[in-house]
């Protein structure tokens, strides 16, 4: 078999891993934030009174759910120069990741909104709450409880999807695994290390979600 697993062989490359992990993290966080905003917009579209706007929202979600993220990334990466923009790899990756994730966010938000009964809006109206007040004190807290768990899962999905940024020249963790693996020929070690990085990130999100949930939701509901 002639191959012995020796972690020591990749120690020299761990410095670059730090930088790569930071890229993975920032890529993910930016995309999560942006996709929430865009997704909220799409969710609002889908509840619009206009048939055209509703169809637009649905079309957006369907396109993002059925087209591979890789293809979307390539389109944005290669389309940039064509449109006269000079997009960095990182920017292209963030845009692609955000637009794709926004489709899923829209669905999560939509499910949260649907769960609110019409009577809630009526009672709030009857009591004289303004639209903004109704949203802030009555609707948002309820929606947040409903979407909390799926949101956590979507955050993890974005972290894992960030690995595709390696295909458009972003030096994040997956790219590190590739580069370090091919220069050192220690693919097993780089795989294990990369896997550990992603595992840690995902489990942190999971545990964070559970802990925060216990803090926020006093009723102690199970949020799995």
């Amino acid at each position: 078999m002639g191959y012995t697993f020796t972690l020591r062989t990749i120690y020299p490359y761990l410095g670059e891993l730090g930088h790569a992990a930071w890229l993975t993290l920032s890529l993910s966080l930016l995309s999560i934030g942006l996709s929430l905003i865009v997704g909220a917009g799409v969710a609002v579209l889908r509840r619009s009174r206009s048939r055209l706007l509703r169809a637009l929202g649905t079309a957006y979600v369907e396109v993002m759910r059925n087209t591979p993220l890789l293809v979307i990334l390539y389109i944005i990466y290669f389309a940039g120069p064509g449109l006269g923009l000079r997009l960095s790899s990182f920017a292209a990756a963030v845009i692609g990741l955000s637009l794709n994730s926004a489709g899923y966010m829209a669905e999560i938000l939509r499910a949260g909104l649907i769960a609110i009964s019409a009577g809630q809006f009526e009672a709030a109206d009857a009591q004289g709450f303004s639209r903004l007040q109704t949203f802030r004190y009555i609707i948002f807290p309820q929606v947040f409880r409903t979407i909390y768990a799926p949101l956590g899962n979507q955050i993890i999905a974005v972290i894992l999807a960030s690995s595709l940024a390696s295909a458009v020249a972003v030096d994040e963790v997956t790219a590190w695994m590739q580069t370090t693996g091919s220069t050192s020929f220690r693919f097993f070690e780089t795989f294990v290390v990369a896997a550990i990085v992603y595992l840690v990130l995902c489990q942190l999100v999971n545990l964070g979600r559970l802990a925060l949930g216990r803090l926020l939701f006093r009723q102690g509901e199970s949020l799995r």
């Binding site: 396109v63 890789l70 293809v71 390539y74 389109i75 993890i156």
Partner: protein
């Protein structure tokens, strides 16, 4: 210069067929493997249950791309034998599909009420017979609709095979793009093809859902791919 786009049509369609073949194979292996893992998850032995749990948690917390890289580059290095890009892609896709499918199958089995087990066992059937004649058929109705979602996810993930050099639909699109001096048309055609295929499949899945009157567990199959 306006290249004759339509001449690339047959090439793209053949590549689409290859993508479907790759996805289908991975899905099949994944479904079988996933069913096995589901049984382990519900086994009487704590060790087996733990093993299955670790397996599922691992593949849900790791991007499929690094698994694919390891299968293609790592395995030959570590174990000495060559792995084709097709094989590496299939294995990686199957491993991921199996972990999702194990949850789907487990939910399907659990959805069949305890009363069914008891009635069948009271009639004298052993565990295997109960699964085969009573639980299985009922569980399948619950398992089928979300499986369609897993298949669509696998199909989207198959595009990653292009990165390790397997010439499926995405790679073909990229090659067409290169030989026509860059441009967006091949990429947009790629997107359109994937969309049409996946959307059509999701419609079939929708019909299955309605036929079996079961809602799909969309929280299980929302992988972004």
């Amino acid at each position: 210069m306006n290249p004759d786009w339509l001449s690339y049509g047959p090439l793209m369609l053949r590549a689409a067929g290859l993508t479907l073949w790759l996805s289908w194979l991975a899905m099949l292996i994944g479904a079988l493997g996933g069913t096995g893992i589901a049984f382990l998850r519900t086994s009487r032995f704590r060790g087996l249950r733990l093993l299955a749990l670790l397996y599922t948690e691992f593949f849900r917390s790791v991007p499929i791309l690094i698994v694919m890289f390891f299968c293609y580059f790592g395995v030959p290095l570590v174990f000495g034998f060559d792995v084709s890009s097709f094989a590496a892609a299939t294995i990686a896709l199957a491993l991921h599909a199996s972990s999702t499918m194990s949850e789907v199958v487990r939910a399907g089995i659990e959805s069949v009420g305890r009363g069914q087990w008891e009635a069948a066992q009271a009639a004298g059937m052993d565990r295997v017979q109960v699964m085969r004649y009573i639980i299985g058929p009922q569980a399948i109705r619950v398992v089928l609709p979300p499986s369609v979602g897993v298949f669509i996810t696998t199909l989207k993930e198959s595009s990653l095979a292009s990165i390790i050099g397997f010439i499926e639909l995405t790679k073909t699109g990229l090659l067409v793009r290169e030989s026509t001096d860059g441009g967006l048309v091949p990429l947009l055609a790629l997107a359109a093809l994937y969309f049409i295929i996946n959307y059509a499949i999701s419609l079939v899945g929708g019909r299955l859902e309605r036929r079996f009157h079961i809602g799909s567990r969309s929280d299980l199959v929302g992988a972004m791919g």
